[in-house]
């Protein structure tokens, strides 16, 4: 396997700390940039993300043109708070309301394509406790400075060997290391160079995002990488070390569900690409057991596995963006 991609297309955020240069480049290329934050009950962190991005990347350095929150029907004050801090706030179900309604992060990312204006779109999870504006500008920068790059993915914690005999593991989460990395190693060894394929922070050009399907739930990151790789090759992808990201720690059961969705997405993609044949359709239920008193009871988590088509295929979208 060649792994020169890792050398060539991996950056550290500090390479892009000169924000005046970014502003210049953006102006030269005459691009609009949108930041999208998908939310579900994130009242604790959303205000901070909006406020810091707005201060640093709108008021002080004109890099972002808009901050858009797409919410999955939060029952806390997420939407209210986000609005108070100046973001454009939508509920996912109100965007393209004639379509059947689904709930999930992927759904929000997809619908954001319809309401945002940007030529570049930055997606950041809304639950980042140590949010810093580098999370946005460092993902945008490679898109501005390298013409081959169309999609930029975040990874965290310096992973590369330091000194002669010292090394650190690359610090993907458990689902990455136990599910995605083995699958990639088995089927697409080149893709293992993407150190944290599940990170929720990435940026890309509209042409890329509008041309790929979006699973509505947890599978969205995996499918995005596979589709972009398949359509345009690894060279349009770059990754940026954003240092640390503080994350709540999920328990193993929750990770199990996540792993289930990701494997399902992966296998379905394989099948679609003609890489494997399945004798039967996959089952759509993740089954976990609880011991209740003296009895084992199953706890079933059902996944419909819905997927949105490339949004360019939606007439309203083509109309709005004059793509006929």
């Amino acid at each position: 396997m060649k792994n020169d991609w890792l050398e060539k297309n991996t950056f550290h955020y500090s390479e892009f700390n000169d924000l005046d240069r970014l502003v210049d480049e953006k102006r030269k290329k005459n691009l609009k940039i949108s930041l999208c934050l998908p939310t579900l009950n994130e009242e604790k962190t959303i205000a901070k993300e909006i406020l810091i991005m707005k201060s640093e990347l709108m008021t002080r350095y004109p890099i972002l043109d808009e901050i858009v929150v797409v919410d999955s029907g939060s029952t806390d004050k997420t939407r209210e708070v986000a609005r108070a801090f100046g973001a454009d706030v939508y509920e996912a179900k109100d965007i393209l309301p004639d379509l059947e309604n689904f709930k999930g992060k992927g759904e929000n990312l997809w619908k954001a394509l319809y309401v945002t204006e940007g030529d570049i779109i930055v997606y950041l999870d809304a639950d980042i406790k140590n949010i810093h504006y580098r999370f946005a500008y460092a993902l945008i920068a490679p898109l501005l400075f390298y013409d081959n790059v169309k999609y930029v993915k975040a990874f965290y914690d310096r992973p590369i060997a330091i000194g002669k005999n010292k090394f650190r593991p690359t610090g993907g989460g458990r689902v990455t290391e136990l599910v995605i990395r083995p699958l990639f190693s088995l089927y697409f060894p080149e893709l293992t160079q993407i150190l944290q394929p599940l990170s929720g922070e990435y940026a890309g050009s509209r042409e890329v995002f509008e041309a790929i399907p979006f699973p509505i739930g947890y599978g969205v990151e995996t499918s995005m990488i596979l589709d972009i790789y398949e359509k345009w090759g690894l060279d349009v992808i770059a990754q940026v070390d954003l240092d640390k990201r503080i994350h709540r720690n999920q328990d193993t059961r929750a990770l199990g569900k996540m792993a289930f969705v990701i494997m399902m997405t992966f296998i379905n993609r394989q099948k679609k690409l003609g890489l494997i044949e399945l004798k039967n359709d996959l089952f759509r239920e993740m089954i976990q057991y609880n011991l209740v008193r003296d009895e084992y009871q199953s706890d079933i988590f059902k996944i419909e596995g819905h997927e949105r088509p490339p949004i360019i295929e939606i007439p309203e979208y083509r109309h709005k963006f004059n793509k006929n």
Partner: protein, 389 residues
Amino acid sequence: MDNYLDKLPDFVNTVKSIQETIITNIVLIGQIPSPTFKEKRRTQVMMERLAEFQVDECSTDGYRNPIGIIRGTSESKPPIFVVANLDTVFARDVDHYYTIKENSITGAGILDNSLAVGVLVSMPEIFRTLNLRFESDIVLAGVIQSIGKGNLRGIRHLLKTWHTPIRGAVCIESSGLGRFNYYTDGMIRCELECNISTVDGWEYKFKPNAILVINEVINQIQKLRLPQKPRSRVIFGKTSAGFKHGMIAYDAMLGFEIQSDSDRMVKSIFNDIKDIIDGISHEYEVDLKLKTISSLNAARLKFNHPLVKSTVAVMKKLEIEPISAPSESEISIFLAKKIPAVTLGVTRGENHHQVNAKVEIEPISKGITQIIGVMMAIDKGVCDEKRLA
């Protein structure tokens, strides 16, 4: 002379217009843990932000206090200092991530004193937005090793090694919009330790209990006659003792402060307490160690000092009710060096010294404007003539 006062109410709105940037600074700096003696990382971030906001000079002094300087228009006027302490009481492993809501910021250290540091760093941007130039250089100093065992070391070193005159100073505290400190009591902070040998012994017929020994010390200190004038008191502020419920305590600690507006009285009470302790140590045959952790001399601006009058005028103009009390903090060190100085609070808060400390966002712009008003007063010369009493 009055016309700068008239500008202040409008300033509040202008300051509010860059509130997002001020809060960003508060968050980016405040989320970096900075326990006393371990302020290095926060120092770095503070310097980065100062450089980002293009102060004319940005460096650390010989003691590693981070300092930014904005050059004034006059070559001859001494500088005005604005300071806030960088250290907090929270250890590095405490969660320092802040939560922002519509009218509040919550998180460890925000009240003491992270909000103030964020405000300090925002000053260059605030001056730019207000179109404000000062005659004096403005020295923005984050001072390390201030609270508790830090004992104001940062500010002491900064002022000891600053060799040219200083025109005046404003110390910023996050909490207590309306607080107005301009005098400081004489103070000695002590820790008394009682240790009883744990070697099973023949020395004692009845083994003394460290808690009871300390209790006796407290009782006798309370019997001391303290004068109303000079106003004096002893505060018992901290204690810990023992190991478990069913066992005599072998060790005990008592932390207390002697405060008075007369240094002589502080000294004299300290001597009385020392006598009490020597007596009890002898009587109970226990080891009592009295340590002085820190001390301050009494110092003050007179209530009719022009800086005091101007500060009150600024606060009144902004409809802030001034509340004065003695303060042992950075101003003590300025005042001891005969540099006119006041401490002002930026906003209102609750849950002091707790990890869920919370500040209100709304008053911040007024709190900042008041600081700027006082700086303008100093720049107009209110500290130049009268020396301290």
